[in-house]
C-alpha cells in the first residue's frame, strides 16, 4: 500500500511539479493550498508525512506545523519543511515550530526523495 503524503504549497506551478515528483517517487499525494487547509487535511487525510511550504497566505507553515503538532490525532505525523526562504534562523524556527526536518528549495526529485526516506526511516 502506498504511503500518503500531504503537500502544502500555495504556488500552483510548484505544487504541480512537486506533486508529480512525489507521485513518481511512489506516494499518494493530497494538496493543501494554505496552512488552514493543511491543519484540516492533516486530521482527515491522516498522511504518513507532510511536506510543508513555510511562506503561505492565511496561515503560514510555522503556525500550521505547531497546530498539527498540538493535535493529539496528528502530532505523530512527521513534517518536512520546504522553503525557498533560506535565511538565517529559518531552519531553527521551523524545527522549533514542530517541523521534523528541513529542505531548502529548489530541490530535485532525488533530493526530495532522499529527505523523505530519511524522515520515514525507509
Amino acid at each position: 500500500m502506498k504511503k500518503r503524503i500531504l503537500l502544502v504549497e500555495d504556488d500552483r506551478v510548484t505544487a504541480d511539479v512537486v506533486g508529480q515528483e512525489l507521485e513518481f517517487l511512489g506516494y499518494e499525494v493530497a494538496l493543501a493550498q494554505n496552512g488552514a487547509e493543511a491543519v484540516q487535511l492533516a486530521s482527515s487525510f491522516l498522511p504518513d508525512l507532510i511536506v510543508m511550504d513555510l511562506l503561505m497566505p492565511k496561515m503560514d507553515g510555522f503556525q500550521a506545523a505547531s497546530k498539527i503538532k498540538a493535535n493529539p490525532k496528528t502530532k505523530g505525523i512527521p513534517i518536512l519543511a520546504a522553503t525557498a526562504r533560506a535565511l538565517p534562523g529559518d531552519r531553527e524556527k521551523s524545527l522549533a515550530s514542530g517541523c521534523d526536518a528541513y529542505i531548502a528549495k529548489p530541490f530535485t526529485h532525488r533530493e526530495l526523495g532522499a529527505a523523505i526516506k530519511k524522515l520515514l526511516g525507509d
Binding site: 510548484t14 535565511l87 530541490f107
Partner: protein
Amino acid sequence: MLCFVLLIVLPPLGVILYSAWEQQRADIEKVEEDALRLARIASAEQARLIEGTRQLLASLAQLPEVREHNGPSCSDILQSILKERPLYANLGAIRADGELFCSALPFSGKVQLGDRAYFQRALKTRRFAVGDHQIGRVTKKATINFGYPVFKNGEKPRAVVFAALDLGWLNQMAAQAKLPEGSTFTVVDAQGTALVHYPNPEAWIGKSLASTSFVAETLALKTGTAHAPGFDGQARLYGFTPLLGTPEAGDLYVSVGIPRATVSAKIRTVLARNLTGLGGLALLVIALAWVGSDLFVVRDVNNLVRSTERLASGDLRARAGPPYPKGELGQLALSFDRMAQSLEQRTLELEKSNRIKEEFLSVMSHELRTPLNVVMGYTGLMMDGLLGEVSPQQKEALSKIMGRAREQLSMVDSTLNAAALESGTARIQIHETDLRDLLESLKSDYEVLPGKEITLSWLYPAEPTLILTDSEKLKQILRNLTDNAIKFTDRGTVTISARLLPDAKAAEFKVEDTGIGIAREHLPLIFDKFRQVDSSETRLYGGVGMGLYITKKLTELLGGRIDVESEPGRGSTFKVTIPATRA
C-alpha cells in the same frame, strides 16, 4: 578630597603642636619656679622657726626653775611645753659645767652635753646659738639644736637652755604643699647627707646623696634649678636653695623635685584635648566634604556613569535626565542626553532599515528560488525520463539546463548571503561541532567531480574533535574555498585539511591547490566584492566574484581570520583560523 581635608587640618595641627611645645617649655619653667619657690618658702619657714625657737629659748631662760637649776620642776614645765610644740624633738637645760639637769624627755643619771656645739657657742658668745644638725641614732630623726644662755645676776651664764628642732616638720610642709604625685622634698647638709627626705624618710635619711646629680648640682649652685633624675631614677625638675640663718651649723640645702612626667602629662592632656578637637574637626570636614561632594559632584558623576553604562549595555532609553547641575558637569549630562537621544533615534532607524532589508532579502530569496524549484524540478523529472522518453541530445540539453540552474542558485545564495552579511542580519549559532564529522560531510559532497583531472585529498582528525562554532557557516567557508580551488585548478591536487591547534583554543583549516595561483600584486584585492583577478577570467571561469568576499565576511563573523599564500602557476593556499572555544 583627602588633600582638601589635609589642607584644612594641617595648619591647626601645626599650631597645636607648636603651642604644645611652647606650652611645655613654659610649663617646665613654671614648675621650675614652683620648685624653687617651695624651696625658698621652706627656707624662709625654717628661718621663721629659728626665730621662734630663739624667742622660746629666751623666755625659757627667764624661768626661775631654770635659773635655780631646779631639775624636776624644770623638766615638768618643759615636758608640758614640748607637748604643745610638736616641731621640737626635745627641750632641756644644761648647767654651765655641761651636765644636763632638765629635759622634757626623760633621762637618767648624769648626762654630759658640754661638748655640744650649741652649748659651747652659747656660752662663748653669750647669745642665741645654732648647733650642728644631727641624726638621732635611734629615732632616725634629723634635728638641729639651738642653745640660749641663762643668766642670774652675773656676767657668766649659769646654764644653757636648748631646743632640738625636728627637721621632720619639713615633711609636713611638703605634705601640705600638695605637691604633684612623685614629688620629693629633700634637705641635705654640706656633705650631701640626707637630713630630710619626703617621701619615705626612713629609707634616705642619713645616707650620703653627694653622688646624686641634683645634690651635686645643689652643692655647687646653692640656689637654682636642675633637670635631673632623682635617687629613684625618675626625671624631675628640681628647685633648691640654702636653709637660712645657720652659718655656724654649716650649710643645709632644701630642694623640691617635681616629676617631669607631671609637666609632660599635663601637656599631653592639653595636647590630647586639642588633637581630639582637631580630629573632630577633620571628621567634620571629611563628613562635610563627603556629603557635599556626594550631593554636588559624586552623585551627578555617578548618575552620569550609570546612564553611560546603561546605554553601553544597550538600554537606548538611558538618560542622565534633568535637573542638570550647574557647570561643566551639567553641560556634560545635557550633551550626554542629546547624544543618547540621537543614538536612540539613529538605532531605531537602523533597526527599522535592517528589518526592511531582512524582509526584502527574504522576499528576494523566495522569489528567486521558487522559479528555480520549478526549473530544476521538471528538468530532473525529464532527465530521469519520468515525463516521457528523452533522446541523448535532449538529455544533454537538460543536463546543461540543470547545471546552469545550479550555478544560478549558487549566485543567488552568494548574493543573498553577502547582503545578509552586510546588513548585519546574518547571525551565528554557536554549538559543539565535530571537526571529523564536518570534514566527512563536506567530503561526501565532492565525490563526483565534473570533468577535471583533480585529486581531492582530505586531512582531518581520526578521532572526534569538538570545537564550539557555527558549523553551517564554517561549512560554507570551506565549501567556498574548496569550490574556488577546484575552479582555478585544471589538474593536480586540492588538499583540504583541518586540525585543532596545540593550545586547543583555535582550529586551523587549509585549502591548498596546484592551480593557476594569484599574482603578488593581486593578493590584497582578492577578498574584495565583485572582484576577480582579471575580468577576462570572469568569462573563463564564471562566477560573480562574491565567493572570497563572503568567505572572509563569514570567517570574521566566526571571530577568525583568513590568510592566503600564492605563487602564480604553482597554486594557492588559503588558511582559515577560527576560535575553537567561546570567547
